[in-house]
């Protein structure tokens, strides 16, 4: 048996909920600790080593000064995994990208706005090459265990490029659109076991989209179900702001 791979966890702008989910997964799957050697994890332990093979990064990059730290991780780690929606997409932090940055800073920091050189929140992949992604807000614990298993086998974790509706139908959930709710399931990447519709709520798209989402058709579905244009925009920019802005720019 080869020595256990060394693993480190890092966070940038985020709620740290994905790292909490990792801690939670360790309770469900204590055998994870037999499989990997965690050498740095600020949220869970005080020991700290700067020598690691696999880095899990939570959070989005929201200020120029984050970039050097992210690049330093890339230089040390053989494999970098983006952990959760913020690292993967920019997350809900990116909602502010719909507004003027100076206005945002003034809204948050008042007359100290210029003390904080924040910029548009962006995914980790905007700064460095990311080898794999664990999507979601928060991440799915089963997917984490599967990803670690893949890494142990020398394979890159892969998220099937399928929409959430597939998982939802397999669970025989009654479609939430028939219950008067809005759902982004048709364009959102599956893998969460359709957790929100299973508990009666519409999908908010935290896992990002499948590779060829049909936004136009989904907008029309929402309009048909009486959702206002304003509400549609707000739904689509909860987790997908950067993608929606990039699409608008491309047009």
């Amino acid at each position: 048996m080869s020595p256990k791979p060394t693993v480190a966890f890092f966070e940038f702008t985020s709620c740290e909920g994905c790292q909490l989910t990792v801690v939670d997964s360790l309770q469900d799957h204590p055998e994870l600790l037999d499989a990997i050697d965690i050498v740095q994890f600020r949220e869970a332990m005080s020991e700290k080593s700067d020598s690691y093979q696999i880095a899990f990064i939570e959070g989005s990059c929201t200020r120029p000064s984050d970039e050097a730290k992210i690049r330093a991780i890339r230089e040390k780690a053989a494999i970098v995994v983006a952990l959760g929606a913020c690292a993967h997409l920019g997350g809900i932090n990116a909602i502010r990208n719909r507004s003027d940055m100076q206005e945002v800073r003034e809204y948050v920091y008042g007359d100290k706005a210029n003390w904080f050189p924040t910029y548009e929140p962006r995914p980790i992949s905007a700064i460095i090459k990311v080898d794999a992604v664990l999507p979601g807000c928060p991440i799915d614990r089963n997917e984490l265990v599967k990803a670690v298993t893949h890494l142990l086998q020398g394979r890159m974790p892969q998220i099937p490029d399928q929409p959430m509706c597939i998982e939802c139908k397999l669970k025989e959930n009654v479609c939430v659109y028939t219950q008067g709710k809005v759902c982004l399931g048709p364009i959102t990447l599956a893998g969460c076991d359709a957790i929100c519709p299973t508990y009666g709520d519409g999908c908010e798209g935290c896992r990002g989209t499948i590779s060829n989402p049909n936004f136009q058709s989904l907008r029309e579905v929402m309009l048909e179900h009486g959702v206002s244009e304003e509400e549609i925009e707000s739904r689509l920019t909860m987790f997908m702001t950067n993608q929606i802005l990039a699409m608008a720019k491309a047009q």
Partner: protein, 351 residues
């Protein structure tokens, strides 16, 4: 084989009696819809259900099915082939036609062991449809409004009783020793004939052409611009294939535990409507657009399966039409292709 009568009042006792011998599954209410699920007490069973979210196919071809277990040390494998004897209650005639197709598919060429094992341990109790189940069904067009001869028992609602056709030895087994069934009287036969005669006018034809023309219609529509229109509309969500009683495509995955010493191989339902379905090594996708994928789906239902297995691939259950958020339906699609084909012929005749 033979025909018996069972009073409806005896059904709860029959279900309880069956449950002591088999796993019993059947239609059960879930919110305002119905699902096939294990029946734990007779009052959970709703034999007069309209339709179900997933077809009863899921008991023959589970959405996730373990094929075998393995260990990496010594490379031992152990097949997972011990299905529980299961009675599926209340299968509609469209779904019986679908099972007929699945049986043929899984018994052609290399017979599918896992399917066969489940099928042999499955007892099919179908039920005559006396009224259209939903606004989406088109069973009369597809010729699936009568039950094919693959049932073990077939029920017909006669008001206070069920007429029970016994179709096989397995069907007889489900009644053997159960006292509350009796031979029909002349009056019972008259009643059955009346019920059967009265049901047909309640169902309407929805195709603007005869279904025997469907394979040719599709062949002539390969280059129709309608596929691109469907491709623009389609969300690519794949729900149409998940709810389809005749879809059987699957993917195979190996899953190992964290110690990398034990694992299992599973197959899971796949869908031709998702991007990665036709992605092959080297990155080429031979059905790269939603238009091509929708065309493939309709060709498969209306043409390919008929050519490969002698049975048409759509049974008119209407589940895909009900599930589709953008209202892509077989009836609308086939009628529109027919309209365009006729229009094309008319233009040709004028020129």
């Amino acid at each position: 084989m033979s025909f018996r009568i069972m009073p409806k009042a005896a059904v709860p006792d029959w279900i309880t009696w069956l449950r002591s011998r088999y796993r019993v599954v059947g239609p059960r209410q879930l919110k305002d819809q119905f699902v096939f699920d294990e029946i734990n007490s007779p009052d959970e069973l709703s034999l007069d259900y309209p339709t179900s979210i997933l077809p009863p196919k899921k008991y023959l071809l589970p959405p996730t099915e373990e094929l075998f277990q393995f260990t990496t040390k010594g490379m031992h494998t152990k097949a997972s082939l011990e299905p529980r004897p299961t009675v599926i209650m209340g299968v509609h005639t469209c779904d019986m036609h679908a099972i007929q197709l699945l049986d043929r598919v899984h018994n052609t060429g290399y017979a599918d062991q896992h399917y066969q094992a489940r099928r042999q341990n499955t007892y099919l109790v179908s039920i005559e449809c006396l009224n259209p189940c939903t606004e989406h069904s088109f069973c009369k067009d597809m010729g699936t409004l009568s039950v094919p001869e693959n049932f073990d028992l077939h029920l017909t609602d006669l008001g206070d009783e069920y007429g029970v056709d016994i179709g096989s030895e397995k069907g007889e087994e489900l009644l053997r020793g159960f006292a509350s069934v009796w031979d029909p009287t002349e009056e019972d036969y008259r009643h059955v004939n009346q019920v059967m005669a009265e049901k047909w006018p309640r169902f309407s034809y929805r195709f603007n052409f005869d279904v025997t023309e469907l394979p040719d219609l599709l062949a002539l529509s390969t280059k129709s611009s309608y596929w691109n229109e469907l491709g623009d509309l389609c969300l690519g969500c794949g729900m149409c294939t998940k709810v389809c009683p005749t879809c059987y495509c699957f993917n195979v995955k190996d899953e190992v535990d964290l110690s990398l010493t034990e694992g299992h191989r599973v197959r899971i339902w796949d869908s031709c409507q998702v991007d990665e379905f036709a992605l092959v090594a080297g990155g080429h996708n031979f059905r790269s657009t939603r238009a091509l994928r929708q065309r493939h789906r309709f060709f498969r239902k209306g043409k390919y399966q008929l050519e490969a297995y002698g049975l048409i691939g759509c049974v008119g259950c209407g589940r895909c039409a009900a599930a589709c958020l953008v209202h892509i339906t077989p009836v609308k699609t086939f009628n529109e292709l027919y309209r365009r084909h006729k229009q094309g012929e008319a233009v040709e005749a004028q020129s």
